[in-house]
């Protein structure tokens, strides 16, 4: 499986964020998108996720399922956790499993993997920022998607959480997944770097 972008232009609010961007990542590879604030890391991820329309160029996934679009085969982990405080931890995760569809994992296993077993029945409102992030990460495990688009995935996590997440990413890569992560902090995994904000 290979994810590649060719000559992508991105314009937001009348301002060119980046142009002529090329990137590529294959199965088992991490592409770390680095660069200063405002260089367009988040825009690139949202563009791959289909949430922004590129002004030019194209993004393609080769070797995925033919009937599904790239966004339908991707997980997007943004700044916001997509959790409902009124629902319990389990209800939140079960909803995304049912809504996102596709091959699903065992929820209690997913919660165990991110260290939230003790909170399964509690409302998500009672979780700390780091725990909310862990619950979002559990979503990546609950439904299988080959492409992971991660925007500052480790920002709210403590050291233990970061180690845990590194392990989760390794497992994903080992099973042939692709990770594209915008990050300031090192991910703890060998990654190909895509430096933003220098080419323009």
């Amino acid at each position: 499986m290979r994810l590649s972008g060719r000559q992508i232009d991105c314009i937001r609010g009348g301002r060119g964020v980046f142009s002529g961007l090329d990137f590529e990542a294959s199965s088992g590879e991490v592409l770390a998108v680095v660069g200063p604030n405002g260089s367009g890391k988040t825009s690139l991820l949202r563009l791959i996720a289909g949430l922004l329309v590129p002004a030019g160029g194209s993004v393609d996934l080769e070797g995925g399922e033919a009937e599904l679009t790239l966004p339908e085969q991707s997980h997007y982990l943004g700044h916001r956790d997509a959790l409902k405080p009124a629902l319990s931890v389990h209800e939140n995760l079960a909803f995304w499993r049912d809504f996102l569809g596709g091959a699903a994992g065992d929820l209690s296993q997913c919660l165990k993997a991110v260290g939230l077993t003790h909170a399964t029945r509690l409302p998500a409102a009672y979780l700390s920022a780091g725990q909310r992030r862990r619950l979002s990460i559990a979503r990546l495990l609950a439904v299988r998607r080959p492409v992971w688009l991660l925007d500052e995935p480790t920002s709210a996590l403590d050291t233990a959480g970061q180690d845990l997440f590194t392990g989760i990413m390794r497992d994903h890569l080992a099973s042939g997944g692709i990770i594209i992560a915008a990050t300031h902090a090192p991910l703890g995994i060998d990654a190909r770097e895509l430096r933003m904000g220098t080419s323009a």
Binding site: A49, L51, P71, D81, A82, F99, G101
Partner: protein
């Protein structure tokens, strides 16, 4: 289908939990209706004549009030991004959200109608006519209002802008809803004609609403 069922279940659950707004709409409906006699006087004969119009206006404003949160809540916490990316077609997801909203916020309005009808001195025929037209008409309000709610999210303006966008769209529903209830009460027109048109408007809104909302969400998120 599991995806859509899950979405409907989730939205209803949130609306009914602590902090959810399902019952606020009914309270607003009650309050608006109670305000009317203060404005136009306590003359029961006059209130009876205006009753269907008062109830329809109250229901219209109440369903508009709660529509504001239809997409903004999901937009603020990032859920909307994932819903757009999901495998369920966005049009159907929008329709599911609107249906859930109607079940949680629209149905209680109809349940409250008989009580308010009593206060406006409507007889049984009039009350059931109003309740029936609301049952058929409020889904149209939700499904057209959804377009405004989607636009408001993508423009980052909620509240008042939504009202300005949606109210004109709801005029046909209001016209035929009130016309059908009046026809049932006083005649001379038959109830069937305006009622059929009201049904037609609802059916059209089921088609147009989700497509328009999905289109504006798809092109407006950033």
């Amino acid at each position: 289908m599991t995806a859509l069922a899950a979405l409907i279940r989730r939205d209803i659950r949130i609306a009914l939990r602590v902090g959810g707004g399902a019952l606020i709409g009914v309270l607003f409906f009650l309050t608006v209706t109670v305000l009317m006699p203060f404005a136009i006087g306590p003359d029961l004969a006059l209130l009876t004549r205006l009753g269907p119009a008062i109830l329809w206006l109250g229901a219209l404003l109440a369903s508009l009030l709660t529509l504001d949160r239809l997409f903004t809540a999901d937009h603020e916490d990032g859920s909307l991004d994932l819903i757009v990316m999901g495998r369920a077609p966005l049009e159907l997801a929008c329709a599911a959200k609107a249906l859930a909203h109607w079940l949680a916020a629209g149905l209680p309005l109809i349940a409250a109608t008989p009580v308010l009808g009593l206060m406006l001195n409507l007889d049984a025929t009039a009350t059931s006519a109003v309740a029936l037209t609301l049952l058929v008409g409020t889904p149209a309000l939700t499904f057209t209002g959804m377009i405004g709610a989607a636009l408001a999210v993508t423009l980052h303006r909620g509240g008042l802008l939504l009202a300005v966008l949606v109210l004109p769209l709801s005029i046909p529903v209001l016209i035929f809803g009130v016309a059908a209830s009046q026809a049932a009460i006083t005649g001379p027109l038959s109830f069937g004609t305006p009622f059929s048109i009201l049904c037609a408007i609802s059916l059209v809104s089921f088609v147009i609403g989700p497509f328009a909302a999905a289109a504006s969400l798809r092109h407006g998120l950033d």
